[in-house]
Amino acid sequence: MAEKMAENGKTPILDVQELGIDFGGLTAVNDLNLQVFDGEIAGLIGPNGAGKTTVFNLLTKVYKPTRGKIFFDGKDTAGKSVVDINKAGIARTFQNIRLFGNLSVLDNVKTGFHNVTPYSPITAILRLPKFFASEKEIDEKARDLLKIMELDGYADYLASNLPYGAQRRLEIARALATNPKLLLLDEPAAGMNPQETEELMDMIRFVRDHFGIAILLIEHDMKLVMGICERITVLNYGMMLAQGTPEEIQSNPEVIKAYLGD
């Protein structure tokens, strides 16, 4: 379904044009073109150090690009901050998990609603009716997200006390809370066993169908990438090596060379 929409020539939700960044004299990403379409699960793969996480940092404005443009939802994102980008509808997870360790699992998800269900500090201090209405809404939505990510049993745990796999899922729940149109997942299956990875794949598919959002993921686990991504971009030395369906990528000699060496 999703591939078809892409092929129908719809405007992409994310359109990256000739993107590049240099750190000092080192070019980390160069001349990258990448599109993600509505409701699509896209993959970004490449050997270690290929610049995949740098691409995520560029998309979310942690780094400012040296060259090129990023259009999100048809609008140029130049000059936007990390916060603006999230408000515009891009949410992400992190390769090295970044949770709010001293907050409960439930509160971690609730932070995601910061701009979705806002109310002022005065409302909070005076405990005005709006506070109770908003908090009730946030609580219900947050618990729904925990249920989807199969974390409902952990709601009152401290985030830092969660098992590794659950921490990765909590990051996804927190990102979903911000009501994104595009979700960026940075190695969501890292450190998970095959069974957990299998479950995660189902969850990612469910999230895409349930929320109708686009997902772009970085992953090393080829089983996961080939299993759920509809389109894959391969990155090597910061440059795009290949782009296509999983079948095309798997049979691409350039890709095989980059992964296996000469």
């Binding site: 949770l99 709010f100 932070t111 109770f132």
Partner: protein
């Protein structure tokens, strides 16, 4: 499932008990002290410490919001108290004729002190909050020093022509019959003492309400998220500077309110009272009480103010012992081996009792 909705509802359930404990402690302590005072069982030394204790508790609760909840080291809390104190004293002095009643004037002075301190907090917050870690701490330290030197050189008075403000003593002249409000290094003199313990206790309750209601809300979650992981907080759309500013300004406002109450408890108040050492003292109350733990802050503030008085019999050695107590508490509470022993002792007891 019906939850009573009021100013005192926090939304949590397990956490709620901890929060009620701090209110309960304040109210019980207040009643106990009032009974002791009415029956004449409280000596004059302790009576004279009551209002200062409430002031430091309020300033420490504010600082804990800043240091514990927001995670930013602030070495200038006394500076904000100073702003509140001298603002409060001036306001009270100016209104003495129009509002002779003490309590309403005290309340206005406290509100003015809080607002002015909050404004200072906002202005200082602009450079402070773009910095991180120890650099931020040094700016708050610098701010405390700047405030002190400004008040050391401020001459403020009121006469038939209105308010006079000068930073050069020789330029400062008042019409006959005018009233000196601030006199440079001598500070505020001849202040009418209108502060009282009840207002102090109420101020603590208000401070607790503000801090707790903020902590357990959207803003509080954002403040703690920004503390735990800046980058992740930004990635979910939390603006870091604005969030930290909220904690910083609230903390400053509470210190300002506390300062105003403090200033109106003495007939004279010198700017040197609120120096770096006072800032450090408040920080010690907060750290010893536990970061983010308001009940702990209240208890540690009271104990640490009373400790030197209780050690009075040891005369010259008391401050030395105070220092040793401070070091030993830090060493013990941060020793993993001792803490696990301590916890297992309690766990064992709990099992034995059950």
């Amino acid at each position: 499932m019906k939850e009573k909705k009021s100013l005192l509802s926090f939304g949590g359930d397990k956490k709620q008990r901890g929060r009620f404990l701090s209110f309960a402690i304040v109210i019980i302590a207040y009643i106990a002290v009032e009974i002791l005072m009415k029956t004449g069982n409280l000596n004059s030394l302790f009576t004279s410490l009551l209002v200062p204790i409430t002031c430091y508790v309020v300033a420490a609760i504010g600082l804990n919001l800043n240091v514990g909840v927001s995670g930013e080291l602030n070495l200038g809390q006394a500076g904000f108290m100073s702003v509140g104190a001298f603002c409060g004293v001036c306001v009270s002095g100016m209104l003495a004729a129009s509002i002779p009643a003490g309590i309403p004037r005290l309340i206005i002075a406290i509100i003015c002190g809080a607002i002015l301190a909050a404004l200072f907090g906002f202005v200082i917050g602009i450079p402070v909050l773009t910095l991180q870690g120890d650099y931020l701490a040094i700016v708050t330290l610098a701010f405390g020093q700047i405030i002190k030197s400004i008040f050391m050189n401020a001459y403020i008075g009121m006469d038939s022509e209105g308010l006079h403000v000068s930073f050069v003593q020789s330029n400062f002249k008042l019409q006959p019959g005018g009233k000196m409000l601030l006199n440079g290094p001598m500070g505020a003199t001849g202040t009418q003492k209108i502060a009282n313990f009840t207002v102090g206790a109420v101020l603590i309750i208000i401070a607790l309400l503000i801090v707790y209601n903020m902590m357990f809300s959207r803003s509080g979650r954002a403040i703690m998220a920004a503390r735990d992981n800046r980058i992740a907080a930004e990635s979910v759309g939390i603006p870091i500077s604005r969030t930290k500013m909220l904690a910083f300004v609230t903390s400053a406002a509470l210190a300002g309110a506390a300062g105003a109450l403090y200033g109106l408890n003495y007939s004279t108040l010198v700017p040197n009272k609120f120096d770096f050492n006072t800032s450090i003292l408040i920080l010690v109350y907060v750290v010893l009480g536990g970061l983010g733990n308001m009940t702990g802050t209240i208890i540690s503030t009271v104990v640490l103010i009373l400790l030197p008085e209780l050690l009075r019999s040891l005369q010259d050695y008391r401050m030395l012992i105070y220092a040793v107590v401070l070091i030993v508490i830090m060493l013990v509470t941060n020793n993993e081996w001792l803490m696990t022993k301590w916890k297992s002792l309690f766990a064992g007891k709990a099992k034995g009792g059950a």
